[in-house]
Amino acid sequence: MDPLRQPPSPCSSRPSSPRTPSCEMLGYVGIEAVLDQLKIKAMKMGFEFNIMVVGQSGLGKSTMVNTLFKSKMWKSTLPGLGVPTPKTLQLQSVTHVIEEKGVKLKLTVTDTPGFGDQINNDKCWDPILGYINEQYERYLQEEILITRQRHIPDTRVHCCVYFVPPTGHCSLRPLDIEFLQRLCQTVNVVPVIARADSLTIEEREAFRRRIQHNLRTHCIEVYPQKCFDEDINDRILNSKIRERIPFAVVGADREHLVNGRCVLGRKTKWGIIEVENMAHCEFPLLRDLLIRTHLQDLKDITHNVHYENYRVFRLNKSHVLPRGPGWVNLAPGPAPSPASPQATPRTMKVCRWTQDNSDDEY
């Protein structure tokens, strides 16, 4: 697909060069204690996670975030009340520190009210792409300082959850396809079918198949990407997930009493939809994917693949300028390849250094 995308996976393969003979240790040494050391260090430093939710208004994005992290990240807006739909797309970020069993997580959620709400939604993805690229740019600037900070604050978007409206129709809408195509090259995207309680189980399955077919037709690689599967275990695990993408989710932040238990759910006249019940919706799958199993992987792919791609593009871009190469070349290495023509979204990136008129659309 993308010629600049690194084919090897983020984690290195086990080295097996003949120069490193493997030695048999005759007894216990204690090397494995390094794992504990790692854990202690990680707990002390804390974790960071940045998630972005994209979708039209009324699809339940804020509610979903609240449900995921079981706390009031935002006041979920009821339809008809509250803030009117913004005229243009604005991005709002909010950061919280949550802690569980000694593990501190600094969570940043970025919402995109106004996405896809206008009559003319042309280029409505530009502000979002601009925001994502700006976070990469910030990180890059911190990284190339002479005197660097010990720990560079990571504001890069690790995961983008895209809410597909539950039309149940044959295919994704053109807006969805355009957006997903552009975004999948820059960030990890997890599409979900929002408000899935309006679809029956069969409708859900059919819709899901069609969406998967659409994604394949348009060569959109959502997370977990096939090309980053490292070994057979990963592949098996990820194929199971890929089977179920996009998840049909329901969000709820009110608790109700069901069979004596207190569960999160939506109460309707015909029943209570339990959010955490696998028979009712696939919210647990989404939660497990995002938080319990693949969080570190999301961060790794963002850092090792998307950020590196951005960096390569950014540093190569200066080659196009007549003023000369834009990077330090301390060693006589191979000359950096000229910026290969990538998909058109790249040309819409924000760049502070060029003096030409870039598309500063925000």
Partner: protein, 482 residues
């Protein structure tokens, strides 16, 4: 679960009380002014991100670890044996000779595995350290090697297309400095070497072959060594004491530095166990006995407790220092002359402009010089040509003049000849007249005829002139006779 929630709520209520005055959320986050209001949030249920450290650990296990140890010490002090004992395996067999002319560094990489941890271990040995007669250059190869590893990492990091996660990190994480057990003090070479290495690598000094010192001497020796190091400003690695779980043990270990170690892979039967030990006629020195030597402490500190911290320090302190110095050396700064923040790229482009301009200037200069030289050469040649021309003309003139002169002379000569021959003729005539009768006038006429013919034949206006200039008689006669 509920109790944990309760505990959280209690904790959070404290936090909430503190942050009660904060405004409600929904800040504006225009791209450049993202307000970071990190408020603590309570969760009403179990979310599940406590598995995050495990996810991180799993990723690290998949990636594998790498650890690089540098052993500096004199030949024969027991470096290889100690490493063998530390890792409980036999790495290498042969001993090195004492006769190397320079200090070299030899690096060997091994793969070790313990349960599910894969460790790529690199041991770097100094070969020939302290063997030379003149030890001035002894520490330089070591410093160069460490810098070379940093340089390689820096190169990789600065590449445009880089693969840092695949990169085999060869930077030295710890330097074990072996001090010989003299019992007195540090050698000058040791001090010098440690001083030049302390800002580049974590140094852990160890007293090698500690079974050569008695316990009391050892205590004094340690105190002496530490005071010398402190007074000379050598910064050795201090085990970190900021995390509560390991602070106490690290602090106590800090007091035992430098560790007095004994290395041995030979097994000796003690009691009813086989232990690693060295057997002497007067007793057995057990390697893993804490009363005998500090080997266990070293292994504990180096591998079990602080391996990660050593790697961290190398990356965040020593490598950053190297990077900063190297980039500043090249002229990059973060702050420009007006104290506005500069970026690496701007600086580089500015420099490039500078160099480019300079190159242009030099090219111009060269062009100018070239043109100048050509002109000069041309002028010279023209000058030469003119000179030649002048000479030629001059010579021609001279030639002409000479020719005229010669002509003159010739004319004069001819005139003289004519005059002379005339005189001769007249004198002969007179002679003949005085001796002969008048009948011989025919003969005289003939003579005269001969003469006049000769004269006519001699030709030229000169003759004519001569005749005209001559007497009447000679003139008249040829007219008559013709």
């Amino acid at each position: 679960m509920a109790s944990e929630v309760a505990r959280h709520l209690l904790f959070q209520s404290h936090m909430a009380a503190k942050t009660a005055g904060m405004p409600s959320q929904l800040p504006d986050s225009e791209q450049n002014q993202k307000k970071d209001n990190t408020r603590s949030l309570t969760m009403s249920g179990h979310v599940g991100f406590e598995s995050l450290p495990d996810q991180l650990v799993n990723r690290s296990i998949q990636q594998g670890f790498c650890f690089n140890i540098l052993c500096v010490g004199e030949t024969g002090i027991g470096k290889s044996t100690l490493i063998d004992t530390l890792f409980n395996t036999n790495f290498e067999d042969h001993e090195s000779s004492h006769f190397y002319p320079h200090v070299r560094l030899k690096a060997q990489t091994y793969e070790l595995q313990e349960s599910n941890v894969h460790l790529k271990l690199t041991i770097v040995n100094t070969v020939g350290f302290g063997d030379q007669i003149n030890k001035e250059e002894s520490y330089q190869p070591i410093v160069d090697y460490i810098d070379a590893q940093f340089e390689a990492y820096l190169q990789e990091e600065l590449k445009i297309k880089r693969s840092l996660f695949n990169y085999h990190d060869s930077r030295i994480h710890v330097c074990l400095y072996f001090i010989s057990p003299t019992g007195h003090s540090l050698k000058t070479l040791d001090l010098l070497t440690m001083k030049s290495l302390d800002s580049k690598v974590n140094i852990i000094p160890v007293i090698a072959k500690a079974d050569a010192i008695s316990k009391t001497e050892l205590q004094k020796f340690k105190i002496k060594l530490m005071s010398e190091l402190v007074s000379n400003g050598v910064q050795i690695y201090q085990f970190p004491t900021d995390d509560e779980t390991i602070a106490k043990i690290n602090a106590s270990m800090n007091g035992h530095l430098p560790f007095a170690v004994v290395g041995s892979m030979d097994e000796v039967k003690v009691g009813n166990k086989m232990v690693k030990a060295r057997q002497y006629p007067w007793g057995i020195v057990q390697v893993e006995n804490e009363n005998h030597c500090d080997f266990v402490k070293l292994r504990e500190m180096l591998l079990c407790t602080n391996m990660e911290d050593l790697r961290d320090q190398t990356h965040t302190r020593h490598y950053e220092l190297y990077r900063r110095c190297k980039l500043e050396e090249l002229g990059f700064t973060d702050v420009g002359p007006e104290h506005e923040p500069l970026s690496l790229q701007e600086t580089y482009e500015a420099k490039r402009h500078e160099f480019y301009g300079e190159r242009q200037r030099k090219e111009e200069e060269m062009k100018q010089t070239f043109v100048q030289r050509v002109k000069e050469k041309e002028a010279m040649l023209k000058e030469a040509e003119r000179e030649l021309q002048a000479k030629f003309e001059h010579l021609k003139r001279v030639h002409q003049e000479e020719r005229i002169k010669l002509e003159e002379k010739r004319r004069l000569l001819e005139e003289e000849i004519i005059a002379f021959s005339k005189k001769k003729a007249t004198s002969e005539i007179h002679q003949n007249q005085s001796f002969m009768v008048p009948g011989s006038s025919l003969r005289k006429d003939k003579d005269r005829k001969k003469l006049s013919n000769a004269q006519v034949l001699e030709g030229g206006s000169g003759v004519g002139e001569a005749l005209r200039a001559g007497s009447l008689s000679s003139r008249a006669r040829p007219v008559l006779q013709r």
